[in-house]
Amino acid sequence: MYFIRRLIFAIPLLLVISALAFWLVHIAPGGPFDRERAPASPEIERNLEAKYHLNEPIWKQYLRYLDGLVHGDFGPSLKYRNHTVNDIIAQGLPVSMTLGSLAFCFALGIGLPLGFFTAARRGRWEDYTGSFLATLAVCVPGFVLAPFLIVVFAIKLKWLPVALWESPAQAILPMIALGAYSAGKVARLFREGMLNAMQSEFITAARAKGLGENRLLFKHAVRIAVLPVVSYSGPMLADLLTGSFIIENIFQIPGIGVFLINGALNRDYTVVVGLALLYAVLLIALNLVVDFAYTWLDPRVKYE
């Protein structure tokens, strides 16, 4: 019941987001057809505006957009005039989602063991080393890490390709570059969670009952400690799945992240609003999944 209600609330939320995005991108100075070379006559500009209905009042344009949206049509791109926004999403999203999923697995695959390990060895040198690595991963931005990885693994060692998106080997470096931040974040969250859980009363009780330390960690603490990671992983997955401008640009990956940023720079109205909506839908959906996972993991949590 609770989840159905959440789903229903999502609809007005998306409407507000689309209206806001639509309005914001339209009031920005400059338009999609402003170029360095002005057209030879004012009529050329008028023809362009008429073709894409930019000469109508903005509310009318928005209603027209909503009408398209109801029919599953995100409209034509104003920059890539042979393509619709649907084309752009259909071509770019699978690529970004693939890379994002890989990065998500990488983040959990590295972050969870590292967090667990550092928590279990708290205060020893293993903890300091691991925590340092996790902090480093969080601090180093993608535009530094990615070129570093390329120089070391692609140019010096020649183990992996420098860029492009054709073979699985080409996914490895961007996956690491994209997932490193999240991996560090997951490790830190999980370590914190573990330490907190280990101090909670039910663990003390279990310990008093004579449970072994390993069993305490694996069977009891983990379930509680993983909760902050779970709530973080919803937005994290949404973020990773929708692509990263920097990583896609550096590795020449044909994903959707480049389009969102360039769409805004190019005043490609339909692309910006379409991708903002896509991002919002993903975020809402994944947050729902997170809440659902909570009820499953933590018996103390119940939604009414």
């Binding site: 400059g30 005039r81 042979n82 752009i88 697995c105 073979s167 694996f218």
Partner: protein, 562 residues
């Protein structure tokens, strides 16, 4: 009691174990699912004969809509006009039309199509197809940015503006299957150049009428040029394969060509150095910080380019409404220092707007570097040693990659030169690209960074820009005398006289009135190994017909002499 608790705990432990197992199972399924997904989405293709890094992702491949060079460099392979470009000089040579005649008054062109023209999907290319393509480009519903390139046609502009509805009144007709007759408003010496521009290329009527705006996505896509479009994956790759039905297919050098959009210069350089690309042909793909080092390599090629970097004055505001002030600022710029210290790719300092090497024209020299005269002029204008000169702004745009840094460094350099030489103070104002364009259009600036790339190889593409009503003027400078000169030049059929008129116009622009200050001429840079790649020639338009380019392996060159 004890046994009861033991028995009650056991199922709980079991269920916990089951839960952990379930977790592990879910994790494994997810991981393997993602891996499958990854291997599924990543695709493999047969290798191409040539891989070219082409710069920005093309906005469109529709010849009537395209505006940029990355688009043109693909479309030049897919469609053809009455004329095509000579790969050596980028001058127009016969394309779909095997021959043509020009009337003595220079206003009527009669083109005779070759008789063996066929679409890549079969079916003849006729004069009607050419007429359809031109009318379509002018049609207001097509909304072509560059429709202006066909305004030289009789009634072209009025048809585009919707003032004339009947396409038969426009000056392009097909008296028979193989003849295209074109009527112009006035003699236009560069009209053959226009006939090699994409807006005139023959496009397939039936496909366009069937698929509308997305017609480029139709497969098979009928092409009139030397190549067919195999696929166009956004931001990923464009693959072309040889069109065996092209009229000159016997001379097409490579069978499969991949053109990759690349946004980052370092990625381009890495791909090239690792052998994943044969040719990189966009100057934007040369990392600016390395440009002087890279140009020392034999595979980096630098050449003159039909483009100028200049400054615009907003002449509607004080003190820049005074030509003496504008001249003073121009004379106080050490342009040599800018190209040597900042741009560093071998650019030539510019005292005039039309680049050296432009066809039909020998440029005039404008203002050089003369700080003493600059100070004198500024004093005459009422600002001795810059006293009382109002604070002003220099507007420049944020750009992608290295260009942004160059714009900024030039701005700082100018700021310093004018402070040191003239004692005037300037603030810098960097704007995002579209905001900058909007500021220029609304004359919301004092001084602004500008540049211009010639559309075709003729002084008109540069000098026509500063007539009073041209949308690209953007300085507020209006001169009836200048307008008369430009119109006069374009009425002229005698090329020598035309050149002289243009020269007086340019003198007015860069020496007397100075609404603009040219800083330097751009160079083009591309990189490829001349031992492996043949058929790319340095030309002022930096355009390279795809059908001429081929890769030679050491083996085939060895076989050559036999």
């Amino acid at each position: 009691m004890k046994s009861a608790s033991a028995s009650s705990r056991k199922p709980e432990v079991r269920s916990q174990r089951a839960r952990v197992l379930r977790w592990k199972a879910i994790f494994c399924v997810l991981t393997s699912g993602f891996c499958l997904l990854a291997s599924g989405c990543i695709r493999s293709d047969p290798p191409a004969d040539l891989t070219i890094l082409n710069g920005a992702e093309p906005e469109t491949l529709d010849p009537a809509l395209l505006t940029g060079q990355p688009e043109f460099r693909v479309v030049i392979g897919l469609f053809e006009g009455l004329m095509q470009l000579d790969p050596n000089t980028a001058r127009p040579i016969p394309g779909l039309a095997g021959s043509f005649e020009i009337s003595p008054d220079g206003r009527v062109y009669t083109f005779h199509l070759r008789t063996n023209l066929v679409w890549s999907t079969g079916g003849p290319i006729t004069a009607d197809d050419v007429v359809y393509s031109w009318i379509r480009a002018l049609n207001p519903a097509t909304a072509s940015d560059y429709a202006g390139q066909l305004f030289y046609l009789k009634n072209g502009e009025d048809f585009n503006a919707g003032k004339i509805k009947d396409p038969l009144l426009v000056g392009v007709h097909a008296p028979d299957k193989f003849t295209v007759r074109v009527e112009l408003n006035r003699p236009t010496p560069f009209f053959l150049d226009i006939c090699a521009l994409p807006i005139t290329y023959a496009v397939p009527r039936q496909t366009i009428e069937k698929y509308g705006d997305r017609w480029i996505m139709a497969r098979p896509l009928p092409s009139s040029g030397p190549y067919e479009l195999v696929y166009w994956r956004l931001n990923d790759k464009i693959r072309l394969k040889k069109n065996p039905r092209y009229w000159d297919a016997a001379h097409t050098q490579s069978d499969i060509i991949d053109l990759l959009p690349v946004g980052s210069p370092s990625a381009a350089l890495n791909l090239y150095m690792n052998g994943q690309a044969d040719i990189v042909w966009d100057k934007e793909l040369v990392p600016t910080e390395l440009v002087d080092l890279l140009l020392k390599r034999p595979d980096f090629h630098q050449f003159n380019y039909l483009a100028t970097y200049f400054i615009r004055f907003n002449v509607t505001q004080k003190p820049f409404d005074d030509p003496r002030v504008r001249q003073a600022l121009a004379l106080a710029i050490d342009k040599e220092r800018i190209v040597r210290k900042i741009t560093r790719a071998g650019e030539q300092p510019a005292s005039h707007l039309v680049p050296e090497g432009t066809a039909n024209y020998l440029p005039v020299q404008g203002l050089g570097y003369d700080p003493a005269r600059a100070r004198k002029l500024l004093a005459e204008a009422g600002y001795p040693d810059g006293k009382g000169f109002p604070q002003f702004e220099y507007t420049f745009n944020a750009a992608a990659g290295g260009a942004a840094e160059i714009h900024q460094n030039i701005a700082i350099e100018l700021q310093q030169m004018w402070r040191d030489q003239l004692g005037i103070h300037m603030d810098l104002r960097q704007l995002e690209w579209k905001v900058y364009l909007s500021a220029m259009d609304h004359l919301d600036y004092n001084l602004a960074r500008s540049s211009w790339i010639g559309d075709y190889n003729d002084p008109q593409t540069f000098l026509g820009m500063f007539t009073s009503n041209d949308g690209n003027n953007r300085t507020g400078w209006k001169s009836a005398a200048y307008d008369t000169l430009i119109t006069g030049a374009n009425e002229q059929t005698d090329l020598k006289k035309r050149e002289q008129i243009f020269q007086s116009a340019e003198t007015m622009l860069v020496s007397n009135q100075v609404p603009i200050v040219p800083l330097f001429f751009y160079v083009g840079i591309n990189y490829f190994d001349t031992n492996k790649i043949q058929g790319i020639y340095e030309n002022i338009l930096d355009d390279h017909p795809l059908q001429c380019i081929r890769k030679v392996s050491p083996k085939s060159t060895a076989q050559g002499p036999n």
